[in-house]
């Protein structure tokens, strides 16, 4: 051990470092490490909290959409319409899947929060058929609901849109349907020039400047280079929705028609006696089979069978539907 004088001598000679040096002890190291950890955890937790909050909000909106859409299903009404007002600018993603006995309808939403758009978890249902574009965006969405019969009620077609539409030379039945439902942002005109800018132009007579061409005689809609066949109120689905979504929803509706045909066939066997519906059970089973065979094919053939079954049902002593 050096005494004080010996230490001074060593310093003067430059052997020992000056007193002004800083000793980075373990305690300092520990304090810096703990501080950095706390800061990192706090920033990480804040980021995760914001993301979780967004995910929760978006998923809740999608779930609440289901609660809003359910009361819109028709009972005895010919049609219904509704305006969905959203708290902020929202994107609604419509996904349709054909797999399974009834296919699947998925809806997910995304809100613009702090500049980021994080889609929420999707909500799926088997018993809803939403015809719309792949993505809808806005604070307001318009819904038009029409029941679909073939020949019994199969489902409610829910048509959702957010854009302006201009119907040129529409037949009176279409005009009455839409005016009765008081659909917003849908205008009727005899001349394409009168259509507002940025509106989707739907022509019922041929035209090159039209976004959608409807041929009432052949029951077809030409949209985006694709020809979509329709029957009855599926016309509105073909006009307002993306062709891929339309084709998928039509396949889903056909599946449900087949399942309902089998259900009515089971009912016919249950209540059947000689002139009371027993014969129709076989026709309904054949109808269900024909629908399954027409998977991916046109509606035309099964609409003929459905009309035939409808006529036979009316003549029964105990009609099934």
């Amino acid at each position: 051990m050096y005494n004080y004088c010996e230490l001074c001598e060593l310093r003067r000679s430059g052997i020992l470092m000056k007193n002004k040096g800083f000793e980075f002890s373990f305690a300092w190291l520990f304090a810096v490490f703990v501080g950095a950890t706390i800061l990192f955890l706090a920033i990480y937790a804040a980021t995760r909290l914001i993301d979780t909050g967004n995910l929760q909000t978006n998923t809740e909106i999608a779930a609440q959409l289901d609660a809003v859409l359910s009361p819109l299903e028709t009972n005895l009404e010919a049609s219904k319409s509704y305006t969905i007002n959203l708290p902020q600018e929202t994107k609604i993603f419509n996904t349709c899947m054909e797999q399974g006995n009834f296919g699947q309808q998925e809806i997910s939403t995304s809100t613009n929060s702090l500049g980021a758009q994080t889609p929420g978890l999707s909500v799926s249902f088997l018993n809803k058929y939403i015809f719309s574009s792949n993505v809808l965006q806005g604070k307001q969405m318009f819904v038009f609901v029409k029941p679909y019969y073939m020949p019994y009620k199969v489902a409610d077609l829910m048509i959702m849109y957010d854009d302006r539409y201009c119907f040129v030379d529409a037949p009176s039945e279409v005009q009455e349907d839409i005016e009765w439902a008081r659909l917003p942002k849908v205008n009727f005109t005899a001349d394409i020039i009168s259509c507002a800018r940025n509106s989707t132009i739907v022509c019922f007579t041929s035209g090159n400047e039209c976004d959608v061409n409807v041929d009432i005689r052949s029951e077809s809609v030409n949209k985006g280079g694709k020809t979509l066949l329709y029957y009855g109120p599926l016309l509105y689905g073909a006009i307002f929705s993306d062709p891929t979504i339309y084709s998928c929803q039509v396949e889903r509706i056909k599946k449900r028609t087949a399942e309902l045909a089998q259900l009515y066939a089971a009912k016919a066997s249950l209540i059947g006696s000689d002139n009371c519906a027993a014969g129709l059970a076989i026709d309904l089973q054949g109808y269900a089979e024909q629908i399954r065979l027409s998977e991916g094919g046109s509606l035309r053939q099964i609409t003929f069978i459905s009309k035939d079954i409808g006529d036979k049902n009316e003549k029964l002593g105990c009609p099934l539907f």
């Binding site: 005494n3 004080y4 230490l7 007193n19 000793e23 002890s25 305690a27 300092w28 520990f30 304090a31 703990v34 501080g35 950890t37 706390i38 937790a45 929760q56 809740e60 779930a63 609440q64 289901d66 609660a67 359910s70 009361p71 299903e73 028709t74 009972n75 005895l76 006995n101 009834f102 249902f125 088997l126 018993n127 019994y152 009620k153 199969v154 489902a155 449900r256 399942e259 309902l260 089998q262 259900l263 009515y264 089971a266 009912k267 249950l270 209540i271 059947g272 006696s273 009371c276 002593g317 105990c318 009609p319 539907f321």
Partner: protein
């Protein structure tokens, strides 16, 4: 020698203060973590409540709309709240409809008036029964709606209607 002793004493005090600060930081970190755990457990339970309330609202709407769905509705006459009991009974044996109305643990149609013994319908006793259960699994809280239950009486060859309820369950 004396200056060196003073200098050494000051260094020890400084180190002691630094160590005290380190311990304070650790204690603060532990306290903060406890507060965070408490906050997240509260948030999670409110999230569960919100999810339960949304499910309950959905079930209430579904009960009211179920009578109008094509699988349940009586379509021969214009009757918004009439259920076709023959179709519902036929639905019991159709496995394709499992899960069709969502993740609903309990669906039941029951005759309320005329009052009858609680008998579950089967192929052997239909229509001399009063309950048709389409789904019954797990624990749930049920909601119900009054409807007319109509069926075709093949003996008398007429439509017979009685008062009934549709019951739907929501998971607890």
């Amino acid at each position: 020698m004396k200056n060196w002793a003073v200098h050494s004493s000051r260094n020890s005090r400084g180190q002691m203060k630094i160590q005290q600060m380190a311990f304070v930081l650790v204690a603060f970190f532990i306290l903060f973590s406890i507060a965070l755990v408490f906050y997240f457990s509260l948030k999670t339970s409110s999230l569960k409540n919100d999810a339960f309330n949304i499910r309950e609202d959905k079930i209430r709407e579904t009960v009211q709309r179920l009578a109008g769905s094509p699988e349940f509705s009586w379509t021969r006459e214009d009757c918004a709240a009439c259920v076709d009991l023959d179709k519902v009974f036929s639905l019991k044996s159709r496995e394709d409809y499992n899960g069709f109305w969502g993740d609903v643990p309990f669906i039941q149609v029951k005759q309320v008036y005329p009052v009858a013994n609680n008998v579950e319908c089967s192929a052997d006793n239909y229509p001399n029964c009063n309950t048709i259960t389409l789904a019954d699994k797990g624990s749930y809280v049920s909601e119900e709606a009054y409807v007319a239950l109509c069926r075709f009486d093949k003996g008398e060859k007429y439509t017979a209607c009685t008062l009934g309820v549709i019951r739907l369950g929501v998971k607890k």
